[in-house]
Amino acid sequence: MTKPARPRSLARWLISGPPLLYLIIFFVVPCLIMVLASFRSPGDYGGLAPLHDETGKLDLSFDNYTRLADDFIFVKVFIKSLMYALTTTITCLVLAYPLAMLIANSSKKYRDLLLLLVILPFWSNFLIRVYAWMIILGPQSALSRGLNFILGLVGIEPVTLLFSGFAVIVGLVYVHLPFMVLPLYANLEKHDPALLDAAQDLGANTWQRFWRVTFPLSLPGVFAGAALVFIPALGIFAVSDILGGTGGIMIGNVIKQQLLETRDWPFGSVLSIILTAAALIVAGTAAWVARPRREANV
């Protein structure tokens, strides 16, 4: 005897099926192809060498992985990218937190306007906005000249802002700031103001109210924002391409280079896998720390 299919589960499959299928075809399968490619040999003219060599043996090895371990330069770029992404995340958090609090505490009338201002930069092209920083940080800019003038007064050698790690981080922070502001705002906006009244009533000053009540309650928003900034910042190549010069390259630039210029697909795959794994570890940790455990308002 067959049970009739429950219409609810059918509806569930109809709804979740297409996106699931999409993710399998365009994420899971490419990932598997990439994993396979990372064990293969590069072709003589780029791309991949045939899967079977002349003797008909499967041409799979750990060579590409050992190359990563041998060539310390790649590990160094990786570590530098991690530091850039981490610095970007922390800077974004420090800048976004007061802004998110301001928006969450402002009246309904101004709140929508402020939120609009936060997402307004998305309306213009990403590359144009990054190129704008090239001008702002360039040697002829008012910022550079003003800074070097002041440094000259105190007897310090002039500095170049553009094409440096500093320029990359400025660009990364600028590009990713809204991704930190929005989850923080969404979290802070839900806080029950009675909790702050209670804390104050029970003897907490402004600082204590923040560190004991507001901040711990906002941690899910902090982790969500941190993941949304850290993961894309780690893999990005456009910002470091434009603002970083030769010294400011990140792992994203190296991967792009391996796949498109050197055309060493297997080694590019190895670097991509390491990058994806790092992103998954960070996202997983953030999701685990921010997992919903308690009701928002009790």
């Binding site: 009675a194 009244d197 804390a199 029970l202 004991r212 308002n297």
Partner: protein, 361 residues
């Protein structure tokens, strides 16, 4: 001298006067209630005592010291909020320890005091739980323990029982009375529930439109309301407008619409011709079948127009021959029958001279 002295306090929001020249003195160890309908200014007054709001004029003195310059976190006054406002990211013990930590209490002392405070509200075993794991009544008790743990001079309670169901509310009322007796801390309780106010308080200030209408013990407030508003707001009351016809010794005769002449106890400083309102509580009025005239100096015949069966008692609305409506109640004490009268029955209603209370206009 009173512990808390409120002197000529006013608070306006634009054109609206929330608190209008209120003066109160509250004694140490008192269970004091601010009672009134929503918007009467009771919560605004409470927030000013806590320090979340400041009076536009007037003074609030605690132990003779004006509190105006003292922010909420430095006032020896704690609040139990209507929503409890427990910190969801802290355990029950963490919540109760919060005010002690803010006061830089040594860790071993915090441990001892938290345990004692939780014992006091019968939550000794619940220290490691989180607020969302507790029932409404338990959260309420955590909020009280948290507010009492540092022994403030005054505990403010802002409609703390309004979120609980009726049975639990009654139980919590008894617990509150006992707790207040035990700790001896002054409680200032805000509520719109007159039953709660009568049951809990040593004294009640009935508020309306920002003013204190009457300040007295619960029994005085109930039996001798000072004006129409208090009579109407506290319990159920029959209110009849009329004129004093004559004053003789301890009683006086009133001309009331729908009744004719009614005798009632004399009130001070009254003369024939004065206008006012007779307030009569339903439970002071006797009701009997028409042929067995109910006993009492004022007796009127009438017909049952409406009834409300409440199980233990039935509320009857009797229309007199003159057209007045008298609300009265009678315990359903007859064995083997649910109630004594039905709609349309001819009855008589009666009350003693001292049953009513005349409110001079």
């Amino acid at each position: 001298m009173a512990l808390l002295e409120i002197r000529n306090v006013c608070r306006r929001f634009g054109d609206f006067t929330a608190v209008d020249n209120v003066s109160l003195s509250i004694e140490a160890g008192e269970f004091f209630t601010l009672l009134g309908p929503s918007g009467c200014g009771k919560t605004t007054l409470l927030r000013m005592i806590a320090g979340f709001d400041l009076p536009d004029s007037g003074q609030i003195l605690l132990d003779g010291v004006d509190l105006v310059g003292t922010p909420p976190e430095r006032r020896p006054v704690h609040t139990v909020f209507q929503s409890y406002a427990l910190f969801p990211h802290m355990t029950v013990a963490g919540n109760v320890a919060f005010p002690l930590k803010m006061a830089n209490t040594p860790a071993d002392e915090i441990k001892k005091k938290v345990a004692q405070a939780l014992q006091d509200v019968r939550l000794g075993e619940f220290g490691t739980r989180y607020p969302h794991e507790l029932s409404g009544g338990q959260r309420q008790r955590v909020a009280i323990a948290r507010a009492l743990v540092t022994h403030p001079k005054v505990l403010l309670l802002d409609e703390p029982l309004s979120a609980l169901d009726a049975k639990l509310r009654e139980q919590m009322q008894i617990e509150l009375i006992n707790l207040q007796k035990e700790v001896g801390i002054t409680f200032i309780y805000v509520t719109h529930d007159q039953g709660e106010a009568l049951a809990l308080s040593h004294r009640i200030a009935v508020m309306s439109k920002g003013k204190v209408e009457q300040l007295d013990e619960p029994s005085k407030i109930y039996s001798f309301p000072r004006n129409r508003f208090v009579a109407d707001f506290i319990g159920t009351c029959n209110l009849y407008d009329g004129t004093v016809e004559s004053v003789n010794g301890t009683s006086m005769a009133l001309a009331l619409d729908g009744f004719g002449t009614v005798n009632t106890a004399k009130v001070d400083a009254i003369a024939a011709g004065s206008k006012g309102t007779l307030a009569l509580r339903p439970e002071k009025i006797k009701i009997a079948a028409a042929d067995t005239a109910a006993e009492g100096e004022n007796t009127f015949k009438g017909v049952v127009k409406e009834l409300l069966y409440l199980g233990d008692v039935t509320v009857y609305v009797v229309e007199t021959a003159g057209g007045a409506h008298v609300k009265t109640l009678l315990a359903n004490s007859g064995a083997g029958r649910t109630r004594f009268f039905e709609v349309g029955d001819a009855v008589s209603v009666a009350w003693q001279i001292d049953a009513g209370h005349f409110l001079h206009d």
